[in-house]
Each structure stands twice: as C-alpha cells, then as structure tokens.
C-alpha cells in the first residue's frame, strides 16, 4: 500500500512540527508497516519549473493538433506552442522555461514549431517525474502562486508499505496516522457520528434487501440527486490520487477513491438512474449469470460470488468491482452511495475464483471495520456535497443486529490482562502508568479491577471495535511493544531448559558421507526437487509412482523427482557448456514416490562423473573416469563404514529399484550380504539413447543411504596387531568371462579364514590373450601365532587352487 508522508503528517496535525520524514519512516517500521520503497520527487527538475496561468488558447495556423497559448507567470507573458488536449483558457499549468531540464535529462529549448516560436513548454506530470501520466499537461489550481517554482509544493515522499494481513483497519492514511500520533504522543481526534446529520433528517429509506446476513453484515445506502459530475476537484485531491497510483475517472468516482485512500474502506457509487426500480438486493450470484465489469471484462458468475443486484440484473460484484451497467459517468446526476461490510471469506473466494485483483477486494478480504464503513460513507457524502453539490433524498443503514450486538458484547467483555504475565512474557518489567496510557491512546477502554494497580496488576481491556484481531494477552503485549519499541527488551537465554543433546544420527551420518565424498574429489551440488515428466522417465514404471503437482509453476517443474540422475545430468551439461568438461559431482537429496496409497520421501546420494580425473597436473598422469572409479568410491566407503556387501549384475525380482536399465550399458548392484538389501546401483549411461551431447562416457551411482545407515557397524573393537611376518604369493588364473570376480574373492577369503589365517587379497593384473582372460591375484598371508613356513603356505595355496579349479578357473602353470 502506498502512503503519502505529507498526508500522514497533515492528519497527525504536525505539518510544522519537528517530526522528520525519517522519524515517520522509523515509526512505520516499528509499528509493523514494513517500508518497501520510498519515492521522493525530483527537486532538481521541479526547481526550474514555474507556475503559470494560461491567458489564451488559439489554434495553431499550420497544425491541426497544436495550439498557440499565451501564458503568464504574473510578471511577464510568454507564447508557447502546446499539443496537449486538456489545455484551456484560465488553466494553471507547469511551465518549463527554455534551458530547463525535464525527466529523461531532456533540455527544453526555445524553438520554432511549425513556423511559430515556442518559448519553452507546458508539461505533463510524467515529464516532471511526479507520476506516470502523459495524457495531458499537469493541471494546477489557484492555490499555487503564479511565478513560484514547483519544488516549493512537491516535497512529499511516497512510501510503499506492506501491511500485516490481519489488520483490515489500517488500510488507509487515517488510522495509520492515528497510530503514528500515539507513537509520537500527540493527541489525535477522529470525527464520530458522521451519519448523525443524515439520521436526523428523517429521510425516506432506500429500498435495500440483504438475502442473507452471511453475505453482508451492514449496508449503508445514501441517495443524492442533482449532483454535478463535471466539476474540477481541488489539485490536492487529484494529486494524491495520482501519486498514490490511482487514475482519475470523474469527480464522483475520484471522491470515492480518495476516501478509500484516506479511511481504508472502499465505498462504491452507482448511477441511480441505471438501477432498475431503485431497489438494491444483496444476494448470491446465480450460476452462469454474467456481468460486464468496470475493467471491461465480462465475468461468468457462480454461487460462490456475492452480487449487488437491482430488480432484474446484477449491477456489481460485491466488494470487488462495479458493473458497467450501473457505473457513474460524466452525465450522472443522481447517485447511490454504497458502504458495506461484506463477508471477507466470501470476497476472498470470489476474488480467487474470478481472478480479479482490485483495491476494493484487497481491503474487503482482510475484513471491514464496522465503524469505518460508516465513517467512509459519511466522508464520501460530505465531499460530494462539498464539491459536486446535490440533495440527499434517501438513506438507509441495514445491519445484522444480532451480529452487531455480539460485536459490542465481545468488545464489552474485555480481555483480562495481568501485567505480571505481560512482564514475564516479554522479559521486561511493564510500567503500570505507561501501559495504561498507551492502551488508552490506542483506543482501548481500560477498567481496573482494583484501584491500586501496584497491589493487583490485573486490568480489563476493551479493544476498539475495529480491532477484532486482539483476543489474547499476547496481542496486548504486542500492542504495548509496538508503541514502546523492541529495544527496551533485554537479551537473555532460556536457561531453565536443561537438555543435553548431540548431533542426531542421520545428521551425523550424512555429515560423514559428505566429508568422505568431497575428499574423494567429488563436488556437491544441490538441485530442485521438482522436474519435468520427461525427466522422470529415467525411472521404470513411472506412472503409478509419480507424485504430481496440481498447480505447477511450469511444465518443466511439474512433478516431484523420482531420481537424482536427471538433474545431475543437467549439471554436467551446464558445466560442459561453460567449458568445464571434467566433472565429478554428487548430490544428497530426497526423491519422492508413491507406493500404493502412501507417499515416500527417501534421502539418496547420486554420484556422476564425466571426463578425466586430473590428479597429477602437468606430469600428465591423468585418469579417465570409468566404472572402477565409481565402484572404488562406493567400495571404499562401504569398507570404511564396515558394511558387508555383495556385488551382483542381476537383481532378484523382489529387490526394489526404480532405475530404468535401458538407459545404461553396464550396471552393477551392491547388496547387503545378510539381509540382501539393495544399497547402491552403479551404471554407465547410454549416451546415444539419452541423446547426450557430452563427449565422454558418463558414469552414475546412487546410494540408498537410509538403508545403508541401518548396517553401519557402530562398534569397533581392537584386534591385537600381528607379530609375525607375512608371506606373499602371486597366483595367475585363466578365468571364465561369466565369473563374478566378487565370488572368486569370496572363495579365497573363505578358505584362508577357515585355516585360521589372516590375509589381504589384491588384484594385480588382468590381461586378455586370444580369447582367454588372465588374472593375477596377489595374496599376503599371515599367521597370528608363528612365522609361516613355505610348506604351510603351500598347503593353503594348493587348497585355493583346488577349489578355484573346481569352480571353472584354471591355474596358469609356467
């Protein structure tokens, strides 16, 4: 919401006082009106612009759309050529003398326009950086002194603030000014009983029917006849409207808008003569009913929408926008002022279903103040009578009496407030006198339980009628703090809570893994959890697993991701496009899927590698990322965590994996040995099938860390270090291609363990000759209790050879 500081200052009654703009801005922030932007007028431009009066307007002899105007600044006369449609004799206007500079750093010079010399120009509001209107020249009025420069008049600041969503009572200048006055400890008086004059006139009732008070709690209708809607409103009103972002329509509409900015309550005005039979009915819209609104668009309504209707047709969408068929235009002479309290929830739903955003809806969906409704009606009535004349002919004030009584009784029951509680809630000692003073200034009625507050610090507070947001002592505490400031509260620590906590398990585990992966040369990435439906196809049997967003931001991000792979691939591409080709990344993130009627969120790690691992720099010892790199990362991690795993190339059908193997050339699974739980998937991507533009092979792995965490060996127990030397034996075998190397390892391990020996096993070499594959295994064998002899070693080695040969391997004997 936009605010004019000058207007606020005027309402506070301190135009001349020493309250600076900065004071007001700080106070606004402290009161909870967050300042979002501040606009000052350009005094550099304005100091060169003069107030002039147009003496005569004549047609330009050589151009249809131009006029030649005589103007005066009170001292000398000038002749200028003007192209504005709104220039007229007697007009007060803003004159740019030749040599002066206007918006956009344009210098205005004396020059000939179609044969006539123009000594400067008359300019628009936009050309002066005042507000965005270039439809005609800026019209001033006789309150401006001829010949004076404009910087004397425009030293306002326009401030955009955000207002708290629960405060419907502060959506205009008046009540914000009231709060500022309390903050600055100034007296502030608001007119009351603005409608008393009308009530006293004993006017005939305007025929208003409200079909259900659920739609509308109060409806004030004032009919005025014989108004003049062709008058000019004072510059002050017009300027405020314009600089606060509202367009001028016609005087009557402008007055209602002005009052909305002032009071914060939106009043609608109908052309009385366009209302059939002069009757108003507030009702639900009929499904399918149509209305052409003031924004020029036609809306098809439904029962969720409340309308204002006459005998035959809807004439406005209640609280949101007026209808074209009942609008006030320049020929309007008889009119009906509507000021109402609508059901905020219904206004909100209607606005959302129809997709209309208006200043009125913005206010009504927050709520409407019972007395602001009345106050706004009175102000509009006053201003119309003052500026447009006319006679008031009918008046009615329909209200839901029961609701009104409830409201009053709620207000009168008050909130029991214990100043000791407020003090302990805030951690600051509340001063009795200051507290009561502030509450009274805000408009609370304070009733003391006992005369002596220092003995019993309980009071009853009756909030102002338009502050229905205040219900609890906490609300009272907030009010108190808004006006005393948060600086008064000291800084303490919640020392009463004695809890001893450490890092949570998952957090600690994740931290360990991240550190490990980074030390292995992988860089962490963070990706969006949402992806496109195409990206999710990387996973098998997609459709019944996907979780879709009902109202996605865009197609690109319309589903929750089933796998980390697509976004990791995207990251490779991003970096490749930036000429970074050699990349190894990992992401720790959630994937989402449906299983039956449940949704699961699972934390996974995805690893991707492309290009080379440049580990020796200039010595050209580079390593191309391959499957073994990724496997190494995983196996080293698993060994570190103490996981017993099996490597498989095929999965039993009962083990779950979502990855679509069609997109991979080589795939491998890591499985927990005892429970057969899938811990990790590794594969090389099919570059062609995935249409990858990357030049090298891409390797991918995912680790199901929620499963992994269950198998981490928590307890590590010391083993005495071996005292005797080990022997080394190398064995070379011819191995069938279909052999799972992990099984070879396992056979050897089992034999050596069964002999009660300790050992380590390494793969020394692999080579192919003809169609045979040779592997060389190197074994370090050690006895805990003695030095192994050659003979003892040979016995073990022969056992190994024996078992392996029975399993299809063949020892290579030289």
């Amino acid at each position: 919401m936009k605010l004019s500081l000058q207007w606020l200052r005027e309402l506070i009654g301190s135009v001349q006082s020493d309250i600076s703009d900065t004071d007001i801005l700080n106070a606004l922030e402290q009161l909870g009106y967050e300042v979002e932007s501040i606009k000052s007028f350009n005094s550099k431009i304005l100091s060169n612009i003069k107030v002039v009066k147009v003496l005569s307007v004549n047609k330009h002899p050589n151009a249809d759309k131009l006029t030649v105007c005589k103007i005066t600044d009170g001292v000398e006369n000038k002749e200028i050529v003007c192209g504005a449609p709104n220039v007229y004799e007697g007009m007060y206007a803003a004159y740019v003398p030749s040599g002066a500079v206007i918006s956009g750093n344009i210098k205005v010079e004396k020059r000939k326009i179609r044969g006539i010399i123009s000594e400067g120009m008359l300019c628009s509001a936009k050309e002066l950086d005042l507000y965005d209107d270039h439809s005609g020249i800026l019209e001033l009025d006789s309150e401006f002194q001829l010949g004076s420069t404009l910087d004397k008049y425009f030293h306002d600041k326009i401030v955009e603030v955000s207002t708290p969503a629960n405060r419907y009572d502060c959506l205009g200048h008046l009540l914000i000014a009231k709060e500022l006055a309390v903050k600055f400890k100034l007296d502030f008086k608001m007119e009351t009983d603005v409608l008393a004059e009308l009530e006293n006139k004993k006017l005939p009732f305007f025929d208003v029917k409200i079909s259900s008070y659920e739609l509308c709690k109060r409806y004030i209708a004032i009919q005025i006849n014989n108004v003049n809607n062709k008058v000019k409103l004072p510059f002050r009103i017009m300027f405020r409207l314009n600089s606060l972002g509202l367009r001028s329509i016609n005087p009557i509409v402008d007055i209602s808008n002005y009052v909305m900015l002032e009071v914060g309550h939106s009043v609608h005005i109908f052309d009385y003569d366009k209302i059939s039979n002069g009757k108003i009915l507030v009702r639900k819209a009929i499904n399918g009913e149509e209305i052409l609104a003031l924004d020029g668009k036609s809306y098809v309504l439904n029962e969720e929408v409340t309308v204002i209707a006459d005998d035959v047709k809807p004439i406005a969408i209640a609280g949101i926008i007026g209808g074209e068929n009942s609008c006030v235009d320049e020929n309007t002479t008889n009119l009906l002022i509507e000021s109402a309290v609508f059901n905020r929830s219904k206004i909100r739903i209607a606005r959302k279903t129809l997709g209309i955003n208006t200043e009125a809806a913005y206010r009504f969906e927050r709520g409407s103040g019972w007395n602001l409704c009345e106050f706004a009606a009175g102000r509009v009535y006053q201003l119309i009578m003052k500026h447009c004349g006319g006679q008031v002919t009918k008046f009615s004030d329909m209200k839901d009496v029961e609701y009104y009584n409830n409201l009053m009784s709620y207000q009168h029951s008050g909130i029991k407030t214990d100043l000791n509680f407020i003090s302990s809630l805030l951690g600051v000692e509340v001063d009795n006198k200051e507290f009561i003073d502030i509450m009274r200034r805000i408009g609370f009625e304070v009733r003391l339980s006992y005369e002596n507050l220092s003995l019993n610090r309980q009071v009853y507070l009756l909030p102002p009628v338009n502050r229905q947001d205040i219900k609890f002592q906490a609300d009272i505490a907030e009010e108190y703090l808004r006006f005393t400031g948060y600086e008064s509260v000291p800084e303490t620590l919640p020392t009463s809570i004695q809890k001893f906590v450490g890092r949570d398990d998952i957090g600690f585990f994740v931290e360990t893994i991240i550190k490990y992966l980074v030390s292995m040369g992988l860089t962490q990435v963070v990706n969006y959890s949402l992806c496109s439906s195409k990206e999710n196809e990387i996973v098998v049997n997609v459709d019944n697993k996907k979780v879709l967003v009902l109202n996605p931001v865009s197609k690109e991000f319309s589903e929750l991701r089933l796998s980390l792979l697509p976004s990791l691939l995207r990251n490779l591409n991003t970096n490749y496009n930036n000429q970074v080709e050699n990349v190894a990344l990992f992401e720790l993130g959630k994937v989402f899927y449906k299983t039956d009627h449940r949704t699961t969120e699972e934390l996974q790690i995805g690893i991707i590698a492309h290009g080379e691992y440049d580990y020796l720099g200039w010595q050209h010892r580079k390593y191309k990322y391959d499957l073994y790199f990724i496997c190494g990362v995983i196996e080293t991690l698993f060994k570190y965590l103490g996981i017993d795993f099996i490597k498989e190339v095929k999965l039993n059908s009962n083990i779950r994996t979502f990855i679509n193997k069609e997109f991979f050339v080589n795939t491998l699974y890591y499985i927990e040995k005892r429970t057969m739980t899938l811990l990790s998937f590794v594969g090389e991507l099919q570059r062609q099938k995935l249409k990858l533009k990357l030049p090298q092979n891409v390797y991918y792995a995912e680790i199901y860390i929620e499963e992994l965490m269950k198998f981490v060996k928590q307890e590590k127990i010391y083993q005495p270090l071996p005292k005797y030397p080990f022997v080394i034996r190398d064995l070379c075998f011819i191995v069938p291609e279909k052999m799972n190397f992990w099984r070879v390892e396992k056979m050897i391990n089992d034999i050596i363990s069964s002999e009660g020996l300790i050992h380590s096993l390494g793969l020394k070499d692999l080579y192919k000759r003809d169609d045979k594959t040779f592997i060389t295994i190197t074994l370090q064998i050690q006895d805990r209790n003695k030095t192994l002899t050659d003979e003892e070693t040979n016995i073990v080695v022969n056992k190994i050879i024996d078992v392996l040969e029975k399993n299809g391997l063949q020892l290579r004997r030289e």
Binding site: Q30, G427, F472, A477, V489, E511, V549, L560
Partner: protein
C-alpha cells in the same frame, strides 16, 4: 747449491701446494693443473729432486727423506680432494634448478561442499552449541499442519503470503496434501509428539508457488526453531537470535528487531542486520534503509498452543524461521538466488 734447497724452502713449497689444493672447490681440472704444476715432469717438486742429485750424500739423504714424505703427504691430499670433488659431482646431478623447484606440486582433485551445505552446517552448529536438538518433518505435508493448526484459517489472506503447491493426491482427514510452504508444520509435529520442555531446530526444504527470478525460487531451505516451556520470555528469543546472528556474521554486527505479523506467533517480529554491503550507510541492496531482513520470529501464538493441547500462560515459547539461501546470500554477497541451483562448478569452487 745449498741455497737451492733448504728445509724452509721445502716447507714453503708444501704450504703453497697445500693451500692451492684446499682452495679448489668444484673443478677437477683445476686439481689436475695443480698436480702438473707440482708433480708433473717439469713440476716444482721434480725440480727439487733434480737439485737433490747435485748435493752431498749426507745432505741428499736428509733432504731426500724430507721431500719424499712431503710429496707423499701432498699426493694423499690431492687424491682426497679428488674423491671429495667427484662425490660432490654425483650430488649435483640430483639438485633441481630454480625452475624445477618452483613448478606446481601434485594437483589433488578434492571436491567442494556446496555453499548451501556449508551455511546450513554453520547454522546447525550454532544451535547445537546452544543446546537445541534437531527434528525433521516430511516435505509432503497435510494442509492442516501447514496452515490450520498454525492459526492460518482457510479463508485468511495470510495464506496468500505463501502461495502453495498442491499435490495430485487423495485428500486426507487432515486436509489436502501439499508441499510444505515453510518448516513451521514441524513445530506442530513436535508439539503433538513431545511434552515441554522443547528446544529444537527443524531444518529442511520448503516450497512456494513462485516463478524463478533473482530473488525467488519455488524451493528453498529453512531452519525452524521452537522453544516451549514454562516461563519462556521474549527476551530469551532476543538473546538466542542475537547470539546466532553474531556467530554467523561476526561479533560486531549490528542488529535490530521490528514489529511484524505471522499468524502463528504473537508478538511477531522480524530481525534485521546492518547491511553488509554499505555498512548501514544505505544502498540499493538494503533499499536505503541500512538494514536487511534476516529472519522472522515471535512468541508462539496462544491459539497454536491450544491447538496442540497446551495451556497458554502456563506454557509460553518462542519460534523462528530463517532462510538458508537468504543467510548464504547475505554472507557471501550473492545477488542471484538461482546460482545455488545452477551448480556451476566455478561458482561452487569459490566457497
């Protein structure tokens, strides 16, 4: 003849030769020159021996022995020096030139932690030090937990403060399923499952219906905090959050609290820190206010406590929610939030 040979003459020649041998440091050729000069066919000692032939026998014997011993000693020195030099030469072969010495060392490819992770870890660390424990909640959340239980009724404009992404899933008895718009529903989960005292942080990813731009994302990270017990005060909130901000941004950072509105806290506050770019002078980043917003906080709303079955006034508490991306942007002066999710390695390597 006598003056041609004398003890002192031999001694002098010995000293001369010895000092010449000593003076050689690097070149074997120089040593060879010395050898020729003294012991060559026309060498100085050869000449001495020539003289020896011409003197009387008794003298010949005396001088002969002397000369022999001196020559033997010097030759030994010469050989020793030669050995020393050749050893030196072998050593020099391993010596690196300045260029070689200053070449880059082995280039280890260690990875980097993502800046969001770094900041996240730092934040968690501060609260662990303050004795908070860590709780997690799902990202797919019930409408009731995300809004209603937090005192944000269906028809309230406060729901517009957080535009929501709803999911295409069957409606539950706790309302529609949605992607949580903040980490605050975890407050409800914790309050429903535990009895006070509660002192927890609840980190995680949250979602909003926002189009991507330099300051908006449809998913980002928050850390929620909740402290509920008897006698928890607003001053405790101020103390904890001031400690937090100083731990993250440095002990000298200036901060302030400002009135705000959140449906689930009352009083509600916003915490600002002095703008790090202009140091409070006023600039584009802080919209000329000298301050930038870091987090929202407040005292737990009585209605929220009632909603989970706790009595207000008996129990009070405070809550806060901070954006990890926002803190990271402030800390590292990053001006476009999308950079975090582009994962340009050159960007990540900066941290």
């Amino acid at each position: 003849m006598k003056d041609k040979i004398s003890k002192s003459g031999i001694e002098q020649l010995r000293k001369e030769c010895l000092s010449e041998i000593e003076s050689v440091t690097t070149s074997q050729e120089e040593l060879e020159k010395i050898r020729i000069k003294y012991f060559g066919r026309k060498g100085k000692f050869k000449q001495m021996f020539e003289v020896l032939k011409e003197i009387p026998l008794n003298e010949k014997k005396i001088y002969g022995e002397l000369l022999n011993s001196v020559v033997a000693e010097l030759k030994l020195k010469l050989e020793g020096k030669l050995k020393e030099l050749s050893v030196k030469k072998v050593k020099e072969k391993n010596e690196l030139s300045i260029l070689e010495l200053t070449l880059p060392g082995m280039k280890f490819s260690i990875g980097r932690v993502h800046p969001l992770q770094k900041v996240y870890d730092e934040i968690i660390d501060v609260f662990l030090r303050l004795g908070f424990d860590i709780k997690y909640g799902p990202e797919i959340e019930f409408e009731d937990y995300n809004f209603t239980m937090l005192n944000i009724p269906y028809d309230h404009p406060a729901r517009d403060m957080q535009d929501t992404l709803y999911l295409d899933l069957p409606v539950t008895k706790n309302g529609k399923l949605l992607l949580r718009t903040h980490t605050s529903p975890v407050q409800i989960r914790v309050l429903l499952s535990e009895k006070p005292p509660i002192k927890s942080i609840m980190p995680g990813r949250v979602y909003r219906h926002e189009n991507l731009d330099a300051t908006h994302l449809f998913n980002f990270h928050q850390v929620e905090g909740l402290v509920v017990d008897k006698g928890i005060r607003l001053s405790d909130l101020k103390g904890v959050l001031t400690y937090f901000v100083k731990s993250i941004f440095g002990q000298d950072i200036k901060c302030r609290f400002r009135q705000s509105y959140f449906p689930f806290t009352e009083p509600s506050l916003e915490m600002d820190i002095c703008c790090l770019v202009c140091k409070g002078e006023g600039c584009g980043v802080c919209k000329n206010s000298g301050y930038v917003e870091v987090l929202g906080c407040g005292m737990v709303h009585p209605q929220v406590l009632y909603n989970v079955g706790l009595g207000y006034e008996e129990y009070t508490g405070f809550a806060f929610g901070l954006g990890v991306e926002r803190i990271a942007m402030l800390k590292y002066r990053i001006d476009d939030i999308r950079l975090f999710y582009e994962n340009d390695i050159r960007f990540i390597n900066m941290f």
